[in-house]
Subunit: 568 residues, 2 copies
Amino acid sequence: MPEHVVVIGAVALGPKAACRFKRLKQDAKVTLIDKDDIFSYGGCGIPYYVSGDVSEANQLRTTAFHMVRDEPFFHDIKGVDVLSLTEATKIDRANKKVYIKDLRTGKEDVLDYDQLVIGTGATPRKLSLPGEDLPGVYYVGNMHDAEKIKASITKGEIGKAVVVGAGFIGLEMAEAFADMWGIDTTVVEIAPQILPRMVSPVLARIAQNHMEEQGVTFHLGQTVTKIEGEGKVQKVVTPEQTIEADIVIISAGVIPNDKLARDCGLDCSERGGILVDESMRTSDPLIFSGGDCAIIKNLVDDSPFFLPMGSMANRQGRVIGSNLAGASETFPGAAGSFCVKLFEKAAAGVGMSLAGAKQAGFDAISVMLIMADRAHFYPTKDMMTLEMVVDRKTRRVLGMQGVSANGDALVGRVDSVAAIMKYKPTVADVSNLEVAYSPPYAAAMDVLNAMANMADNALNGLNHGHGPDTFEEYWKERESGKYYFLDVREHADAEPFLNKYPEYWHNIPQGEIPKRFKELPTDKPLVLICNTGGRSFEAQIMLDGLGFKDVRNTQGGMAVLKAYGCDI
Amino acid sequence: MPEHVVVIGAVALGPKAACRFKRLKQDAKVTLIDKDDIFSYGGCGIPYYVSGDVSEANQLRTTAFHMVRDEPFFHDIKGVDVLSLTEATKIDRANKKVYIKDLRTGKEDVLDYDQLVIGTGATPRKLSLPGEDLPGVYYVGNMHDAEKIKASITKGEIGKAVVVGAGFIGLEMAEAFADMWGIDTTVVEIAPQILPRMVSPVLARIAQNHMEEQGVTFHLGQTVTKIEGEGKVQKVVTPEQTIEADIVIISAGVIPNDKLARDCGLDCSERGGILVDESMRTSDPLIFSGGDCAIIKNLVDDSPFFLPMGSMANRQGRVIGSNLAGASETFPGAAGSFCVKLFEKAAAGVGMSLAGAKQAGFDAISVMLIMADRAHFYPTKDMMTLEMVVDRKTRRVLGMQGVSANGDALVGRVDSVAAIMKYKPTVADVSNLEVAYSPPYAAAMDVLNAMANMADNALNGLNHGHGPDTFEEYWKERESGKYYFLDVREHADAEPFLNKYPEYWHNIPQGEIPKRFKELPTDKPLVLICNTGGRSFEAQIMLDGLGFKDVRNTQGGMAVLKAYGCDI
């Protein structure tokens, strides 16, 4: 009898593990089981199928060379047998058996295994709301949902859409509705910001402003209490309002499918998810797991990490496939990098946001920088906004997030930092990180190096300032006279603001400070501002040196204030 | 007396070190010396000024906020005194003095220093050719050259240009001439490929083909023996031909300006360049150096490294500035990452090419991959060609190079690998490198991970094949019958080739191999081919498993063969 490997779950991790193993052990038998009849698809592509960027649903389950990854494909091309519409109902570890049920016929059966892979993925979280089961409420959890959503749109049934949850998938779906189909789209989020836990409130608001400019409506800090409709969804209700909806997408996170593992006694996390070691083995050495149903290691603080992403599943699947064949490969964990396209901008990041770092117990600060993403004289440059989160005591880089119009350029910087996260980098490591240089692609002192330099200056107390949120607070209090707002740009730049706010706006160009500093008050904080924060930093140092006790520069300057939407 | 820091050389490293130090020690005096009257400019931007992408020469020496970095700028904004058109002629280390000469008046003077920085840069290599001093022969070494070149072009004096040297600057200049001005442009290179030492001959030919499509002519493996002209340049002569030229750009590398350091007894490399430690100190602890005149560490093999790039100079300059002020910062070295825009494609890389690795004593192999740079179903995808160089014994990644239409995406992958080079990564580290995933920006199994997986398979003997150069050799011998060419794509893809080469081209779709393998000869090598190398790899494994002894898959498949220009 050839060795038999059974793989439960045929999306991302399962197929990768099965095919990798089969390539290494051609004489083994591999059985891949899935509850669905559509499997081995790129679920992350669903928003782009809904938007129409991807025209056919099948494109999400074809190879790069246009073959559909269906049962015959796996059999003929990969040598892997697929049992679709088949549920694994129980694992008997002592006897190395998997109990299965054919969902078409109800027929039950038992498979003997030598080694087993659990790649059961995750299930979208339901909110247990009244009306949540109405037709027209979707979770974007599988291709069937995707096809129904697309069909509704193309039939012209959708005029208004409500997305519940402003995480990646929620925002991607909002873009799909609003951008390509002109659907009146509203996002409702329980947290007070979009992309909660992923980016700071400031970056979130910058991204949100951009999406609002593109026509998406947001209701943040609101809890959906019920969904209403006669025969189909019609309204989404929060304590604050009732929103009309022809379709509702609930995108409130996912829950790892660990029941099968839990029931057979494998170690699982109390908070859900199958525990695995670096070789992706569960507490049973004959059983591997990974992907959306497993818990890996967070490389930032070595804590348990639930990171349900197709990229994780694919890479882990290969490690499992190799180890099934006797290799000793490891998957070290992840730093949680992400990227998301939001109309004409991208948001991306890695590691912890400031709030996340503080919650994890770090004495963290963050700094914000806006700078050209290549030589500032090169015509195709875009301005990139980055925020870096660092630990005060160890100077470790805990995370970095950003927003930019050039997604590839932003993702490139994020990936560079992600690459070194497992080495626990300090700010100095990123100051000297090697970014390949040529004016069309990077700056000589690249935005990434400059970001770390700024964090270094902040940690050393050389750069002391605030972001646009704090500036906005100061500015709202301008009539109190508590702050002295000093624009350190050249007069021509400052002039419109001097004219608009003659009582509150002041101007001394940075180069004139040494001879004009006596014009400045010494009894109140000086709030410095320039275009992007560079000159206000230098002015702050000058004024510090001249004996001023409370000088605060506005990180990101007018550029970030504008993106943040500060009313100035 | 305040502390006095003297900085010799005011391009890139010098100004950065001077200004950083001055920010940290505002009460110190800083003097910045330069031989030229135009300084603190971005020399790497010269090709883009010549092309017209950058319209004014001054843009290369302005800050991001449009202030020209001239003497008053450094004085007023940075607190740094500049002595331009001033040459440092001698360093007296015992007495801490720098002898200088005003190049306008010839007047000599002496500066006392407490600490000194040597940032004298490098000088373009001259070729000592007859006629090299004719008007119209340039080295792109400074802004004066750049302005003269641009003036000649805009006056319509340039119909034909010859570039000697196919390194970065040479190719960038060739693009500037040909792309924006429609100048008949020829590149002459002594090596048999463009970008010698930087990329493999295969990647070089792919890039060259693209440039040829854009109208640039190449003469490779040719040595210029003389330059001819009456009163101005008219011809460039090689043993093979005489090329007409209204302008000649010599771009044959640069030589570090280490004479000042050498003359005062500082340790220098035998091959040129000032030796520094990780703190960027020379053998005299009061004297720092960096940038194009210094030798740093190659992070791939810890060997001495001459890497004259503006990005190096800027980052090292900051380290020097901090250390002048008493910090203990380090610059660990570099892995030699690079990128260059070549019309509509980019070439980029890091670490060693295969030839370089072998020359450095590694038992190295390389593998080549072509794959979409994001989800293959996402409409804006481009095909990225990558080559990874790995050490057979240690499985270390020694380098990676690539060519792609999306420069930002390519540079992002290169930067990720560059980021981990100092940690001496193995193939497994890159297999699991965390690339932020979302279909618009990356693939779930990203091209970077797939590249490392392929290297892993090659090292394990699982993937055995060849690149387009070897395929071309086999194909040229097709009439000998020594090789059996097997297309493993579906019949429709193979059909045009079956019709064109009925005697030599054979087709069994990969999925049909298990039932049709008996059609194949067992007495000669099977040369497999598909679209991009993925299916031919799987077919190769199948055939290996079926007992075939010599199966060779064509890495990169038809896609790379086409880019390589194979006549098929």
